[in-house]
Structures are given as structure tokens and as C-alpha cells.
């Protein structure tokens, strides 16, 4: 009894010190924004997850007849983790090129499930599976249209789920491009009122899709030979990594390996930025190809060509990898919408894909909040101030973390869950 009490007293004495320390210093360990983006959060600094998260992959069947080359696609794949009691239901929207089982989605899902939410995660509208099955135009990137597609999918999923779960109220969150999309979906919900979201969280969102994508593409300007030499650049980075791996006693390409490579400064800053841009290119290559096949757009695949499973796609892969987001925008995306809306200027289209087009709503809606980082490079100079101005007290800005590197950090996850639970910001 005595010992217990003294332990308790020591604990109480220590508590405020810890609390104070946590308030004053942000302890996310990776200082560089590119490195943070690549490495994420070390395992031991993530919240502990106890117990199994019952994540199920579900298929929303679509009756569209698909091109033969997509024979493996049987409908929109989403993931769900349901509580066995009444709980709030949160919809998650993945970031650019991400599916409903991408690591960040699974991390959010696990933590939110453990915090007592029902969770349903949707792939990004830029994800091939979404382009094929859920996009009305099959041309991703037009945020108001993407929001309509997302909302329709959410309604369909809700219709098949509502018999199985008890829901108290609805919430919405998205990261990266998914965060920007969440704002558009929230606005749509104000008219449709199917969910009447109580709270909407935008995690490291872009302000303007065009600007953010251009900034990521811009990272390739600093690799040797520029964007046309992504293949050579990739080979060089792989070679360095392979040599480093062979020298050390690593058991696999895991956190230990990545952090060791970071500590050894295996890549310089330009190379780290280049790797981020290359992974962006890899996912956008899938997007461009899927969209082109679905619309018979004649962009990288010959128009009217019926691709068979045995056909080689390697040349299309290589071509798509070398096309930048700006190429896609100027040569494919803009002409597509211009042909449907004659007189639409490029500037107007760029403006429509920005939070600025729904600024009035965002500034006045108390339910929407933003969590981002001071050094998130998908934001152009001035855009962070813009977000501060629009969201006022409803924005939380961490000093470091790059683009989503600190998403899984303990403090971030705790804060995020706390915001979703609270009635006011």
C-alpha cells in the first residue's frame, strides 16, 4: 500500500513535466522534409495497436463491361473495419494513386478502429481501380466531378453496410489529394445531406492540384539530365541502395534498412526529392494508362486498339513513365474538358481544381479542419498562409514532417483522433 502510494506520488510529480515537455517540443525525429516523407515514422514512435483490426476487403460490383486487359477487375475494392456496437462511421479517402489498402490508409484505419470508429476506406479517384469502376468520365483530376463519384460510391457502400452496423453519426477524412477531395465532398454533402458529416479532416491537403503536382514534378528538374532521364536516375539510386544493403547485415528492406541508409546519408537531398517524384510518376503512369484505355483516348495506346492479356504493355509503361503531370494536363485532361465545355480556359480549369473555388464554404464551415506541416513541399510559398487565413483556428500546423511523414507519429495520431471526437474544433 505504502509503495503503491509513493509510486503514485512520483508519477504525479513527473506527469506535469512530461506534459510540459510534450507541449513545448515536437519530437518527431526526422528533420528533413524529403527524408521524413520517404521514411515516415519509426515503428517505436507509432501508437501501440493492441488486438487485431478486422479489416475486410469488399467489392462494390459494377456492371460495366470492361476492356479485356482489365479482366482481373471485378468491381471497386474498398476496405472496412466495423465495430460490433453503435459507433460513429468515418470514411477515408486515399491520396494520389493510393488504393484502399495502401500503408497510410491501413495505419489510419487501425488507429481509428482502435479509437472506436467504424471505418470505411476508399481508393483515390486517381487509382486505376477507381478510374475503371467508379469514375463517370474515367478522367480523374477534376475535383468537383471526382467528389460526385466519391459521394455516389459512399452512398452505395452505405446502402450495403447499413443493415450490418449501427452508426451514430458520420465523419470524413482524407490525406494529400484525398484531403483536398474531402473538402469538395463535404461541400456536396451540404446539398445532398445523405451523411451530414459532423466533422471533416483534411490531412496534408494540396491547395491547388495543379500547383502541387507541378511542385512534385519540379523535383525531377534537379536530377542529373532532368526529367527525361528518370530511368538512369532510378538505376543509379537502386545501385547505391543495393551496394549499401550488401555491405550491411540487413535482413530485409525494412525500417531498419531505411533508417540506416538515412543515417549514412546514402542519398543527397536532390536524390531524395527525385525519388519522391519518381514514385509519383509510377503511380501516375498507371492512372494515365487506365484512363486512356477506358476513354479510347489515343494518348499512349493507339485509338481503337483492343489490348489482349498476352500483349506487351512494356512500351506503354515506359511512355507513361516519361510523361509529366503537365503533359497529362495540357494534352489530355484539358482538351477532354474543353471539348465538353467549349470556351473553358485553362486558367479557369486550374482554378476549379483549387480550394480557392470553394473558399467561402471552407471559411464558414466550422466542421472542417486541416492538419499539415510547415515544411510540406506540396504547398507553394504563400499557400500555407492562405490556409491559415481561410481556416483560422481550425488549422494545426506541425513544424516538421514533410508530406505526411509524421502521420503515424503518436502525437499526430492522438491529436487527429481527438479532433474527430470533439464536437467543436
Amino acid at each position: 500500500m505504502k509503495i503503491e502510494r509513493s509510486v503514485l506520488i512520483v508519477f504525479l510529480l513527473l506527469m506535469p513535466v512530461f506534459a510540459w515537455a510534450d507541449e513545448a517540443v515536437y519530437r518527431y525525429p526526422v528533420a528533413d522534409s524529403y527524408a521524413a516523407t520517404i521514411l515516415g515514422t519509426p515503428q517505436n514512435l507509432r501508437p501501440e495497436l493492441s488486438g487485431k483490426v478486422p479489416i475486410k476487403t469488399m467489392i462494390l460490383e459494377t456492371d460495366l463491361k470492361k476492356p479485356e486487359i482489365f479482366f482481373y477487375d471485378h468491381g471497386l475494392r474498398y476496405t472496412a473495419a466495423f465495430q460490433d456496437r453503435k459507433a460513429p462511421l468515418i470514411f477515408l479517402i486515399a491520396g494520389t494513386g493510393g488504393g484502399s489498402k495502401s500503408p497510410k490508409v491501413l495505419a489510419l484505419m487501425g488507429n481509428l478502429y482502435q479509437a472506436g470508429f467504424h471505418v470505411i476506406a476508399l481508393p483515390s479517384p486517381t487509382f486505376p481501380n477507381f478510374i475503371i469502376d467508379a469514375s463517370a468520365s474515367h478522367v480523374p483530376g477534376n475535383l468537383p466531378d471526382d467528389a460526385v463519384d466519391l459521394y455516389r460510391v459512399m452512398e452505395q457502400i452505405w446502402n450495403v453496410s447499413k443493415g450490418r452496423i449501427e452508426v451514430s453519426h458520420f465523419l470524413l477524412a482524407g490525406y494529400s489529394l484525398g484531403g483536398t477531395e474531402a473538402a469538395f465532398v463535404a461541400k456536396l454533402d451540404e446539398e445532398r445531406k445523405v451523411f451530414d458529416f459532423r466533422r471533416v479532416l483534411m490531412l496534408n491537403p494540396g491547395v491547388s492540384l495543379y500547383t502541387s503536382a507541378s511542385r512534385i514534378e519540379g523535383l525531377l528538374d534537379r536530377i542529373p539530365g532532368g526529367p527525361r532521364r528518370v530511368g538512369a536516375f532510378f538505376n543509379r539510386v537502386m545501385e547505391k541502395s543495393t551496394n549499401f544493403y550488401r555491405k550491411g547485415a540487413f535482413v530485409g528492406i525494412d525500417d531498419d534498412f531505411l533508417f540506416a541508409a538515412y543515417q549514412a546519408q546514402l542519398l543527397d537531398r536532390d536524390e531524395a526529392g527525385g525519388i519522391i517524384a519518381v514514385s509519383f510518376r509510377i503511380s501516375s503512369a498507371g492512372m494515365v494508362f487506365a484512363s486512356d484505355v477506358m476513354t479510347n483516348g489515343g494518348y499512349v495506346v493507339p485509338r481503337n486498339k483492343v489490348l489482349k492479356n498476352s500483349d506487351s504493355l512494356e512500351d506503354y509503361f515506359w511512355t507513361s513513365l516519361h510523361l509529366s503531370f503537365l503533359d497529362y494536363f495540357n494534352e489530355y485532361f484539358y482538351p477532354y474538358f474543353q471539348s465538353r465545355h467549349p470556351g473553358l480556359s485553362k486558367e479557369e480549369l486550374i482554378e476549379a481544381l483549387s480550394l480557392k473555388s470553394i473558399e467561402g464554404y471552407l471559411a464558414s464551415s466550422a466542421k472542417i479542419g486541416v492538419i499539415t506541416n510547415e515544411d510540406d513541399f506540396i504547398l507553394a510559398p504563400g499557400e500555407l498562409d492562405y490556409l491559415r487565413r481561410v481556416f483560422g483556428p481550425r488549422i494545426k500546423i506541425y513544424p516538421s514532417g514533410g508530406h505526411l511523414g509524421n502521420l503515424e507519429y503518436r502525437d499526430n495520431m492522438a491529436f487527429l483522433i481527438d479532433r474527430l471526437r470533439s464536437a467543436t474544433w
Binding site: F127, R228, R229, G298, Y299, N309, S310, E314, H322
Partner: protein, 254 residues
């Protein structure tokens, strides 16, 4: 009877041929070259160095494996994971891993790797005895890490090139050399098992062996987390091919 069959084939073939003509006649929309082609980007270094002359066949096999998984292996694996408790699954994995130590042992010897051979021999003896026939893996906790050697690597140390990329039925991504290695290791195992004849006294030796082989197949699929087409990435085949060759690159020349 034979005649009837020939007749049937000719009729069927003719019918298929005619519908083929009809089908191609309706698809007269001619192909128009796309805005961008690969020739624009030939000044960049290519990333994949894997020789894949049988790509059409390989993609067919890749698809076959996907369907085999979908309709057979994954349902079986799911049932296994639901029915068998976790410790049983681990025991099964350990048991077959222990048997595979024999493969690692003779291949390390063939490659003249003294330390690996000793560690593997130590592991096999320890796990077979203290580990109760391989169900447990105490050797790892003694600091003897599991080694992986197979005849493919033996061929490599003997200077045999990998040969073209080859997607095998059920087993998946491979190379010609790797496939030969698998065949040799399989043959050695068959020879060893039939000479020892461990279940000979039971009167149902071949049934038990078949069951063991099936269980090993289930265990292999259970431990392999990869799912065909799960990435939903249209170029998954190429990514898998690249990662396969990189992974070998990482693990072999160490």
C-alpha cells in the same frame, strides 16, 4: 466413333473460323497511332534488364496463377487459417522449414560454404531433436540464423547464367535456371524420401506423403503474402518481374 470426332472437330473449327471472320469484320475501326510513343524516350537508360522473350506465355501463366489462387488456393488457405490455431500454423511452417534445411545443407556443401553448412547442420540436428521433429525452432534462439540455399544458387556459383524470365504454374516468377534448380532439388528430395520410406510401416505411405505434400503447398501459400493483381496496377507484371530480379540480386551476391 473416331470418324464422328473428326467430323465434330472440322465442323467446330469451321464454325470458329467463320465467327472469327464475322467478328473481325465488325471490328473494322482501324487503329490510329497514339499521341506519344516509346520512340520519343529512347534516349533514357532502360530500367529492366530481365530477358523476357516468352512474355506472351508468361503473362498467360501469370493469369493462370491468379485464377488458380482465386478458385482454389486462397479459399483453401483461408479455410486453413480459420481452422488451424496460430501455434499449429507456426508448427507446420517450422516443420517444413526444418525439412528444407536438408536442401540448404547439401547445396552449401556443393558451394563449399563451410560456415553455412555447419550452421545448417547444427540447426537441423537441434530442431529435429530438441525442437521435436522440427515443430519448434530453438536453433534460432541459440543465435543460429536460418540460411537459404538451393540448387539454383549452386548453379550460379558454378557460373551458370539465369536464363530468361519464366513464370511457372503455381510457383510463379522464376527463371530457367531457377526452374532447373527446383527440379533437381525436387528429385533429390524424392530420392531421399523413397529410400528412407518414413511412412512405409503404416501401410498408407503414399497417402500420407500426398497429404504432407498438400499441407506443404498450403503452408507455402499461407506464408506468401503476395496476391496476384492486388495492386490493381496495370503494369503489375513488369513491377513484379523487376522486383523479382532485384530481390535475387540483393540476396545472392553477398
Amino acid at each position: 466413333m473416331f470418324r464422328y470426332l473428326i467430323h465434330l472437330f472440322i465442323t467446330l473449327g469451321l464454325a470458329l473460323y467463320l465467327t472469327g471472320c464475322a467478328a473481325s469484320a465488325t471490328h473494322i475501326a482501324s487503329e490510329i497511332p497514339p499521341m506519344h510513343t516509346v520512340s520519343e524516350f529512347s534516349d533514357d537508360e532502360s530500367v529492366s534488364h530481365t530477358r523476357d522473350p516468352w512474355e506472351g506465355f508468361n503473362k498467360g501463366m501469370y493469369k493462370f496463377n491468379y485464377e488458380a489462387d482465386r478458385f482454389f488456393f486462397l479459399p483453401v488457405v483461408n479455410a486453413y487459417e480459420t481452422a488451424a490455431p496460430g501455434f499449429v500454423q507456426t508448427g507446420v511452417s517450422n516443420f517444413f522449414a526444418n525439412i528444407r534445411e536438408v536442401r540448404t545443407l547439401y547445396n552449401s556443401i556443393l558451394q563449399a560454404k563451410g560456415k553455412e553448412s555447419l550452421v545448417t547442420l547444427g540447426r537441423f540436428l537441434t530442431n529435429s531433436t530438441i525442437g521435436i521433429g522440427g515443430l519448434f525452432d530453438p536453433a534460432t534462439s541459440f543465435g543460429w540464423r536460418q540460411q537459404h540455399e538451393d540448387f539454383d544458387r549452386t548453379l550460379e556459383t558454378w557460373g551458370v547464367g539465369t536464363g530468361p524470365y519464366l513464370v511457372l504454374p503455381i510457383l510463379g516468377p522464376s527463371t530457367v535456371r531457377n526452374a532447373s534448380g527446383l527440379a533437381v532439388d525436387g528429385a533429390v528430395r524424392w530420392a531421399v524420401v523413397s529410400s528412407i520410406d518414413p511412412f512405409g510401416g503404416t501401410g498408407a505411405g503414399s497417402e500420407i506423403e500426398t497429404g504432407a505434400t498438400a499441407l506443404e503447398a498450403v503452408d507455402l501459400r499461407h506464408r506468401e503474402k503476395f496476391r496476384y493483381y492486388e495492386s490493381d496496377y496495370p503494369f503489375e507484371y513488369y513491377m513484379v518481374r523487376y522486383i523479382f530480379s532485384e530481390r535475387r540480386e540483393l540476396t545472392t551476391i553477398r
